[in-house]
């Protein structure tokens, strides 16, 4: 019987296996790099119906986070303000700005095209449905907005600053001292090492992290790492 397969084909299966293997490994590597929250969600910066600038409102005007996100201290969900919160000021301030047309549409009955329907803000930060993150549990124990949302006070348009992945959550739950602040500083976006001395007479405590370590002890902060902390 003649040889159907030529000699060179002997190594063919091996070659195919090696190629396929490296291709698969490449895909896996690419996936682990690209398809993680670190690259997929950080930097997500959708445009909003009203180009609301946190920079103007927080940095220039000096509004506290809780003026608009009023329930962050009592609820798991940090609410986006209702139309009436915006309208409180904007029926007087910058009333005629064309950027506020959607607000007028929803709040101002005198406005042509008024429909009274709420503004649909585009969601920037989204936890999956099976994650129960609770804002009040964090801000009432010394974790600042800034730790998870970045320098919002400098953002013209809000983007996602941190990956909000489970590993990222756990990093902090394992070492909460990196994020802990005195409760008075939770909403202060300019908190830094200079502020530390206000809260301690201990000369050894110089950085925010030093103070964090001290507060962890004092506040008895013992973040849970088990699944049911966030998944139920």
């Amino acid at each position: 019987m003649a040889n159907i397969f030529p000699r060179w084909s002997n190594l063919l299966p091996l070659k195919i296996a090696v190629c396929a293997g490296s291709a698969a490994a490449g895909v896996a590597l690419a996936f682990t790099y690209y398809a993680t929250p670190k690259t997929l969600t950080v930097g997500y910066q959708p445009s909003q119906p009203i180009p609301f600038s946190h920079k103007i409102h927080v940095d220039q005007v000096g509004l506290d986070c809780r003026y608009c996100h009023s329930f962050v201290e009592v609820s798991g969900h940090s609410n986006v303000p209702g139309g009436n919160t915006c309208w409180n000021c904007h029926q007087h301030v910058q009333r005629e700005s064309p950027k506020l047309a959607p607000l007028h549409k929803s709040m101002n009955p005198a406005f042509p095209g008024y429909d009274g329907k709420p503004i649909e803000w585009v969601r920037v930060h989204k936890s999956p449905d099976f994650v129960y993150f609770n804002h009040s549990a964090h801000v009432n124990r010394g974790v600042s907005c800034q730790s998870c949302h970045g320098d919002v006070h400098k953002m013209e348009v809000v983007w996602q600053d941190q990956p909000h992945s489970m590993g990222w959550c756990l990093d902090c739950h394992r070492a909460p001292e990196n994020a802990l602040r005195p409760l008075e500083e939770v909403y202060n976006f300019n908190y830094g090492d200079a502020d530390v001395l206000k809260y301690t007479k201990d000369q050894g405590v110089k950085t925010t992290k030093d103070l964090g370590l001290k507060l962890k002890e004092q506040f008895q902060v013992n973040p849970k790492k088990s699944c049911a902390t966030c998944h139920h």
Partner: protein, 1125 residues
Amino acid sequence: MSKRIWHHPEVPADETTVSWRSAGQLEDTPAFREWLDREFPQGAAEMADESDAETSRRSFLKLMGASTALAGFGTAACRRPESYIVPYTKAPEWIIPGKATYYASSMPRATGATPLVVTTFEGRPTKLAPNKLHPDAEGTDAFAQASVLDLYSPSRSRQILKSGKPAKRAELDAAIAAIATDKSAKIGFLFGADDSPTRKRLAKDISAKFPAAKFYQYEALTGEAPVVLGDGVKLVADFAKADRILALDCDFAGTDPQGPVTPFFDRRKPEGKAYDHKPDAAKMNRLYAVEAAFSLTGGMADHRLRVAASQVALVAARIARELAVPGIVESPEITDSKQVAWIKAMAADLKSNAGKSMVLAGSRQSPAVHQIALAINLALENIGEGKALLALQTEVTGLGSLAALKKDIESGGIDTLFLLTPSNPIYDAPADLDFAGLLAKVKTSIHLSDRTNATAFASTWHIPAAHYLESWSDARSARGTYTVVQPMILPLYPNCVSELEILSALLSDDGKLLDGEGDKEAPSPAYDQVRKTFAALGGEDLSAWKKLLRDGFLADSSYPLATPVASPLAAGSFAAAPVKDALEVIFATDASVYDGRWIDNAWLQEAPDPISKLTWDNAALIAPKTAKELGIYDLIIEPEPVSTILGVESKYADVGPDGEGENRKQPMIQVTVNGRTLEIPVLVSFGQAENTLIIPLGYGQAFDKDDELGRKPANQSHVGLVGINRGFNAYPLRGSATTYFTTGATVELTDKRYSVALVQEHSAMYGRALAREVSTIESDDEKGDFKAQLANVKKQGNDSHAPPNVYLYKPLGSAKWNPGKDGKAQPHLNDPLHQWAMAIDLSACMGCNSCLVACQAENNIPIVGKEQVAKGREMHWIRMDRYFAAQKDNTFDPDNPALVPQPVACVHCESAPCETVCPVNATVHTEDGLNAMAYNRCIGTRYCANNCPYKARRFNFFDYNKRNPLIKHNLYKGPLGEKTVGDADHLQKNPNVTVRMRGVMEKCTYCVQRLKDSVIRQKRGQKQEALVAGKASTEMEVTTKTLRIPVDSVKTACQEACPADAITFGNLLDGDKSALVRSKHIERNYDLLNYIGTRPRTSYLARVKNPNPDMPDARFIGKATIHMV
């Protein structure tokens, strides 16, 4: 290595208790063996026939190919879809997004409103809990718990019907206006048996406006006790004051409430309701029950006598004679000397506790029984202020009966009829009244209901009713406290109106019918009417009204006392005992559908009947001995081994007779009584009186082409997917004189069989001394007196001789990921603030399913449908085990076993067998002692369920939450199946609990969402403390007191709902201040399967029976310790 099988030691030869769950086990059929050995029946996961196999391997591959191809397109858009946050334009006060808001309301019912606290999320009611502030507070039963589902029911009526056809609102408005403007209209109103002060007031106004108006009352199963007591008079029990209770066919703990029942159960605990004093048998009450078949009350009884329903009057008369009660005519003598001995000893006990005892007559029993019970209570001076029984004058007076309505219609006194009763008279009125014919004689009939039931189609008009969570009203609770019914939400569908809104429309000048939306800026007219009623009772003050809305009730507003008088007994009150050839048929109130009104409630349908453990259907129940005499016992016990291979029926198919598996088919009998017949499957019922047949009412309302027995499609639009093809309708067998029971029935076996979804053998556990029982009296064997028996609780069963558990494994965590302060590994259970635990008191548990349904509501547990239940795939996190136990040497009545319920959910073992076998760490322990389940990690190997000795884990074989399991074959169609999402019932879901998908294991979490919420709320206090002290947070000391939640302040859903307070939950670190910790320290406390060393966090408290030593059956009581081997 093969799996090591734990061999439980044999039951010692001197063990006198025989315990069983089902007839199959008692007879030790191979089928039951299989249930014990396996998690699921053999073949349950396989496809039974061609029709199920619509997803064959071929089509599966096709689908897979298609979806892979689609996935390719999908990758083009990696970015998650844009989603939106839509805040309110004008944020309403009190609504905080993400936080529940609680309101006080109540559920109106015939036996007195159930005071409730309603949980709402962003205005959406999701969960009901009892209002513990209310003077008539008790738990909530399964009906109350499940009623929230009715609000969202997809089959809810939402369309106005005229003569059964959809009609426009304007037409109805015109019809109502025509009636309202005609002051000479001869209107009749048929109300339910609940008491609403506003309705009463409006009825009075209507009488004034329409002089010819007449008022009637009808509910199918409320009985006619007031006939004896006087118009509108009722007896309400105050169980806290009753030392001795005799229940004459009265299921006061279940379907026949006689007053708040929690105090009764408080006195079943020898250590007191808070477990805070030494066990004292003298403080316990004693319950005697006389009944035909086991009820929940009968199961709790210390002494239980089984007699046919017709014989209860005879027993009552004999008791009266024993007590020398005046006015009771001579009754025939009871021939059974054992029964006479029982009655004599019992009567002596009642007599020696005169003034502190009560005799309760079942509300559906004959007037004679009520007369005798009243005479006994009066003679023993049990009625009156400060006594165990209160006679109260309710406001439900001056209402005619159905018979009076018939007379008035026939005489032409009524030509317009408003049917406002929650019952369904076309379906459930006594057959001889011919209500359908009667209704046809009325010129205009207007029917209000939340279901398009039989009466809806027979009436001229049907108006969809607003749910009680959508409407303003008021009600009286059991003892008459004025209780508000406030809406949580506007009616979900337009056109839904409430009873008060209809009455208001009739009273208005133009007769304009307004619904919950009200008129322009004004609220619903019902709101104005309720406020007006309240102003007369509680004052005009706005603050009083606000207090009513906050508390839910008006204090000190109970009914005034009445003084009922005993009346002489009519002759002919006693019937002969039933015999084999002339059986007695008892039309029982069903624990799932009540009188049929809950037939479309899926939670109730899937909740197993507490006694028979039957789901989704009804069946005739018969005592084993009677069944043997009739020659059908063997057929019932050995289900026909029929299964199909490729559509061919075969007795030798692979899928064998798996006990209660999908192939369980019960034989059907034909019952002939009163000249009518009914074909119905039959089940054996232990402890039932001989020669009786129990048929629960309320089923068989509608059928379609999918009916298993091929019954003619009928009334398809009367029910939804839940209620279609369910069970058998026994109402046609009833006459006006035989609403509760009838005699002279004959039974014939048919060759038909009907599949039943019984769960009594599902998840049967192995083990010795699972449920433990002791008695308060000196035992005649070596068990000793009460004290000795209590001391021995922990040593019952294997624990008497098994060596103490030794733990070689050190429960330490990882030093790398979770180091302690010293950098070393710390124990797993390292939370210094909270360590959760639970105790379940079997002495108080009656097995009523309230916890089971509450858990379903709280934790988004899906229903799975009858076929899946039959395969053992029900998802209830709490399994309500029900055992029977008899004493081998019982010479008094060997066929009257003890009934022992035992709820079993995940017991949160500290060394949990499930955790060690999970390959993906999806089930792990938390620091505070929970056995947590991370659904998104679970890959569905089911190893954990296999390794759980308590069989407490449930697996989502299908996407029950998304795919409607009630559509035939729908689950097997995979992605092509019909979805349920969007059918409104998803609105009931608790937003704080993940909705699980297919392939995920789930189980009790101790309501972890509630625990987390309470702990987080407590932590907020740190900031408050600093603010109050006016200091910087860094200067404040944070102590355990700041961070630990107040003692016993968090309740699990089951605990909250339990009407018996049988469940205690709390923090083990709270010390003796916590009822939970106290209950863990009493002698009755034991761990289930202690000897396998799982260290469960849920422990049980042994059941205590308080028998009377003088009773002939006393020495067989209090020994029902359950062994399953």
